[in-house]
């Protein structure tokens, strides 16, 4: 299979709300290679979760894809009808959500949900056989006593166990692409590390391509090969994780990294970025970050900066960086 697992091209998504059209995702392109994990990092409202949902063709009903393509192993899923989408979901691409407790229907056991997935996605009708597959999937994600988990309702399990169960649900069908939408945000710090470890080892074991969505740069540093930094619906910088974290180029990335609270400098004041996210209903002729940027140039408010590679695999959309490079 020469097809790339996940390619997103020129994706633009608008939300139709009572207060106007919100341009949530603005001409975003990226790709995830086989076995690689790419992080989308950004504040709330930067459009990263919208991209995550669009990869499954599971956008809310008030969202419109204005332009662009989302290719999963070469198939543009934005053009598929409901039936074909259903067959791609689970089989080729799956998702883990932020809140594991809300992801499971409270009236059904973990085993019932997983058995249905095995039945409808893998076509295993035999109950015994299905249960065997499910129990294997549950132990694969490090859940002790899979038999008990199988018969448990969501409210009988802890957040960490539920998130493991959710990972089992997403991976039992062996998709090639996994979208992880802030999978550790709702968990305790100690659990976060465990879940991230689990995801890492499963990714290596199964050769998964992962689109990891987070606002937490620390998490991104642990899990991801590459990072794409999003601001107000656009990617402002992407590159290998260490490059982005250690020598960020875009003023927004720099500020984002400064904002990460560090326990060693507890005495110092927490940093933040002055101003707030721009109004996403408007179009901006220049750089969308310009109103909050300390290093504005005259052209920043006039001309939209393009994503340009400053070194192989590391691209930035900033006039100042490009000018410095020449």
């Amino acid at each position: 299979m020469a097809e790339k697992p996940l390619v997103v091209e020129n994706l633009t998504i608008h939300y139709y709300t009572l207060h106007g059209i919100v341009k949530a995702v603005r001409n975003v392109s990226f790709e995830v290679h086989r076995g690689e994990s790419l992080c989308l990092v950004g504040e709330s409202g930067s459009g990263k979760s919208t991209i995550g949902l669009s990869v499954l063709g599971a956008l809310p009903s008030n969202a419109r894809v204005v332009s662009g393509r989302v290719l999963i192993e070469g198939t543009n899923i934005l053009e598929l009808d409901e039936e074909n989408l259903e067959s791609i979901r689970g089989r080729k691409v799956s998702i883990i959500f932020q809140d594991p407790a809300a992801s499971f229907n409270p009236l059904f056991t973990i085993g019932q949900v997983l058995s249905d997935i095995v039945k409808y996605k893998l076509g295993i009708d035999d109950k015994e056989e299905a249960k065997r597959v499910v129990l294997k999937a549950l132990s694969e994600v490090g859940l002790p006593d899979p038999e008990r988990i199988f018969n448990s309702y969501p409210h009988e399990l802890s957040g960490g166990m539920l998130q493991r169960a959710a990972i089992a649900v997403a991976l039992v069908t062996r998709p090639s692409v996994l979208v992880a939408d802030e999978p550790t945000t709702m968990l305790d710090v100690t659990l976060q590390a465990q879940i991230l470890d689990l995801l890492q080892s499963l990714r290596q074991k199964l050769g998964l391509s992962m689109l990891f969505i987070t606002h937490n740069l620390g998490v991104a540093a642990i899990v991801c090969d590459r990072v794409a930094v999003m601001y107000a619906g656009s990617i402002v910088e992407y590159g290998p994780t260490d490059k982005i974290l250690l020598s960020p180029k875009h003023p927004y990335t720099k500020k984002l990294i400064e904002c990460v609270p560090r326990s060693s400098i507890r005495a110092g004041r927490l940093k933040y970025i002055p101003g707030s996210l721009p109004d996403l209903r408007r179009d901006y002729p220049g750089c969308i970050f310009a109103p909050r940027c300390d290093e504005v140039l005259e052209e920043c408010t006039r001309v939209k900066p393009k994503l340009v590679e400053v070194e192989p695999g590391h691209a930035v959309a900033c006039h100042r960086v490009l000018r410095a490079k020449g």
Partner: protein, 340 residues
Amino acid sequence: MPVSKEYIVKRLILLVLVVFGVLIITFVITRIIPAHPELLWAGSHPTKEQLEKARKQLRLDEPIYVQLYYYLVDFVKGNWGVSWRTKHPVLEDITTALPATLELVVVAFIIAIIMGIPLGALAALKRETWIDHIVRVVSVLGASVPVFWLALILQLVLSNWLGILPGAKRVDEYVVIETGFKPITGFILFDSLVQGNFAVFTNALKHIILPAFVLSMYPFGLSARMTRAVMSEVLNEQYTRSALAWGLPRRIVIYKYALKNALAPVIASLGLSFGYTIIGAFMVELVFVWPGLGLYAAMALLSYDYPAVIGCVIVVALIYSVINMVVDIIHSIIDPRVKL
């Protein structure tokens, strides 16, 4: 089993307390209304002596707590007094009237559930389409149309003008006599079916269609609107969106998963309206000459027939309590988070 024995016992004790409380309140209220039931008891044109005798017989000359004491003693023995209007024992009257009403209400609720829940679910799935609008209009109409009006119109058109369906009574006497039908429980549909008497069964079925349909309008509107509202909510829940994103087929997500979530609140509201309908059926019973409990209670109220009124109120309180218990138990079976 999510329901414990202790819970059932507790609920049964509570049920006795509720019925007892209802009994006392109803008894006191009937006695403090300024009315003269002895006039009814003594017949037309009574003499002073006859009236005095009637008051003595009915113990109306005693203080209210003495009357209550005698009533309670009799009540526990199974003697609910004699109806001042029909001169029959109240318990006997009620055991004849109750099956007629229960049969009518149960059929009405079956119609309501069969129409209401699927239509409500459909409306939620097709939100803001013409299907949704039609279901909403019909369900609001169903819940708000006056039953006596609808009963009269349907009786006039379908029975009197077109002659498609019978417009009065539970069953035609001639069929009962010809086939030698003997009711056991008083539920004619049930009895005739058990005895294999299909002539009576079809005859009774034809008779029950119109009144049951009219009576089903309110619970139909209620269940359709409730199902639509709860279902829309459930379809927006994260767990529904997750299930779809994981690739489960849409029909499974909706009809196996989401519908179960929507069921508990719908059943709860239907349970409450069931208790209400037992007595509220009297206008339909009046129009269709249906010898039911609602009609009996209404007549008892109009004629100051205190023992009958108290008897009816107690039966309804009993039915309410039992239904609430059943609804709670159903809820705990549907929802594993509810432990009784």
